[in-house]
Symmetry: C2
Subunit: 347 residues, 2 copies
DNA sequence: TTGAAAGCGCTACCAA
DNA sequence: TTGGTAGCGCTTTCAA
């Protein structure tokens, strides 16, 4: 026989019926030890591998979890993925992964494609899906997680933290440290980056308001905090961080005394460039980042950054999907996993 | 109607037969424009999504490409993945990805699992599969790529470069620069790392032999090159690079004048640690790495490193799989993509 | 604990 | 260009 063996072949060899073989594969404990042994031996002998498509069709369970991330090159999503894989492991689930390159339209297409696999659940990054994508997902009848970021209008399950609050908190940290001419370096400007920028602006606005109130009458100009915002749609890289630092220095006529980088890649690039410009850090220039990458803690000085539980978010996403899929009627209000500011020498 | 619409529903609504709808989905050009339009409208109206399992079962084509990498956290494999995804895009293929954590046994299990999806092809990292895994793959009757590394006994298609040659070439570079007390810092010690180490040893052995021949009679000890090898099975990280540098300095009683790190993470860590030890680079200590990460070019001094075409390897793997799957009888001898040494300030 | 029959939703094959 | 028929390999349901 040359074709691949199927259930029936195994059954014949083992001297049982096909369904018994099927049971050995899915509920081994519901089969008598004797039969099970015979079946297992037949499987080994034939090198039988169960046909997933047939199994999925008959059982209406695909055993597939779909995941869409915005970028394969950004290590941040790798950590989320690791969490997802670690949580998936004990359950018989395969992950199919899509990369939407930060594009909601690509994401929409991917969703349509991935849904045809009838996944048990779907994990998305961010909360900015197209209307059509939302509709597709609502009709799909499977648990959906929007990860990394919070929204008050989730499709289904929502796990993340407020990038606005994080951006605001980091800016407040810089203000508290006495920096008053603060630059914001932003690349790619995806929604989460924009929220960080909004938080940055709000913190400065609040500070200026509060400060004006105190010093009313006095010359306000010297007491104001001056924001310098430099952004680009280019995708983020270490190198770009150095370039953006030069831009902000040019724009501020060298007055900028701190930069808040929308991620740690930019921050590292800014740090390297600042060294070459002979700026002392943090005396001449403070540098803050976002994501708390390993390198940020190890460069000298260490870069102050925003940490968030990425691995745990990935795990939670899987767990909540499985809970929901198994019919638990728990209410999943948006789940805020929080963030923390890792203060280091750069600020 | 509450259940999900199927082909038949679409067919009825469009006033055609089921098979015509199927054709619209797979070979739209083989259907009259008029019918096609009706069908497409019906699909949109019902929000129909084709059942992949049924399609795969009936057609015996899964539309799935299986990929196994040793680590999700190592950015090196991300670049390979990006190549794979970019090549897969124009073809209707979904990627299912497994992470075997550098373990051949986990890899074997993953192979068995992934094969049940009847993938059109399978991409593996490295050439160190278990015997059972090899047997599974040989019986699977699908194109298999072993990527990243060369072997003279490939399972099927083999694309990569010689890590031995690269390790040797880098060491020769250090020797040519005049370094004589060279350390090798190795972490995780997967097969490719071991080949790099073997290349390191060979280069030094060759050099000592050649040198002995020239200076026969003279005091050989001062003319010998001294290798210091420090390895650990811990997984690689920037931080670990600093620790290993300290070990090699301790072991060599501070005599070590160059370190070849098995990857750039270690090299970065070594660089940061060397700075804190007030070592001038490359005067007091040369540092060489492997993989040519972005940061290696941007730190000061830049880290000399081995570059390889990772993105292109991923692409090629997909392309050769598709070629082979479509019956092209090309002979695929191991494909050496080569490497290059990026010389920078650190050496 | 085991088995027989039916059918999941789609596509290959052939015929019109 | 279109359609009818059959069947992919498995699991569900029900009965023994």
């Amino acid at each position: 026989m040359n074709r691949k063996p199927n259930l029936k072949d195994v059954a014949e060899l083992a001297g049982v019926s096909a369904i018994t073989v099927s049971r050995v594969l899915t509920h081994p404990d519901k089969v008598a030890a004797k039969s099970r042994q015979k079946v297992e031996q037949a499987i080994a002998e034939l090198g039988y591998i169960r046909n997933h498509a047939a199994s999925a069709l008959a059982s209406n369970r695909s055993g597939v979890l779909a995941v869409i991330i915005p970028s394969l090159s950004n290590i941040v999503f790798n950590e989320v993925l690791q969490g997802i894989y670690s949580a998936v492991k004990p359950h018989q689930l395969q992950v199919i992964l899509g990369d939407c390159h930060y594009s909601p339209l690509e994401e929409e297409k991917l969703i349509a494609t991935l849904l045809s696999q009838a996944p048990e659940g779907l994990i998305l990054t961010g909360t900015d899906q197209t209307d059509y994508a939302r509709k597709l997902l609502q009709n799909a009848g499977i648990p959906v997680v929007q990860l990394m970021e919070l929204t008050n209008n989730p499709i289904d399950i929502n796990i993340g933290f407020s990038h606005f609050a994080a951006g605001k908190a980091m800016t407040e940290h810089l203000l508290a440290r006495g920096y008053r001419r603060i630059g914001f370096l932003g690349a790619r400007m995806d929604p989460r980056t924009q929220h960080r920028l909004a938080g940055f602006r709000k913190a400065i606005e609040d500070w200026n308001t509060a400060n004006n109130a105190k010093n009313s009458g006095a010359e306000p100009s010297s007491a104001r905090c001056e924001p310098y915002v430099v952004t680009t749609s280019q995708s983020s890289s270490i190198k770009l961080g150095g370039q953006l630092l030069q831009s902000v220095m040019a724009e501020s006529a060298g007055q900028c005394d701190a930069v808040f980088c929308c991620n740690d890649d930019l921050a590292l690039g800014a740090l390297f460039a600042a060294r070459q410009m002979n700026l002392r850090i943090p005396a001449d220039l403070a540098i803050a980042g976002f994501n708390d990458l390993e390198a940020s803690a190890l460069v000298d000085p260490g870069i102050t950054s925003v940490a968030s539980p990425r691995f745990a978010m990935g795990q939670q996403a899987v767990e909540l999907i499985l809970q929901k899929a198994s019919g638990a009627q728990t209410e999943f209000s948006p789940l805020d996993v929080g963030f923390s500011i890792m203060v280091r020498g750069s600020t």
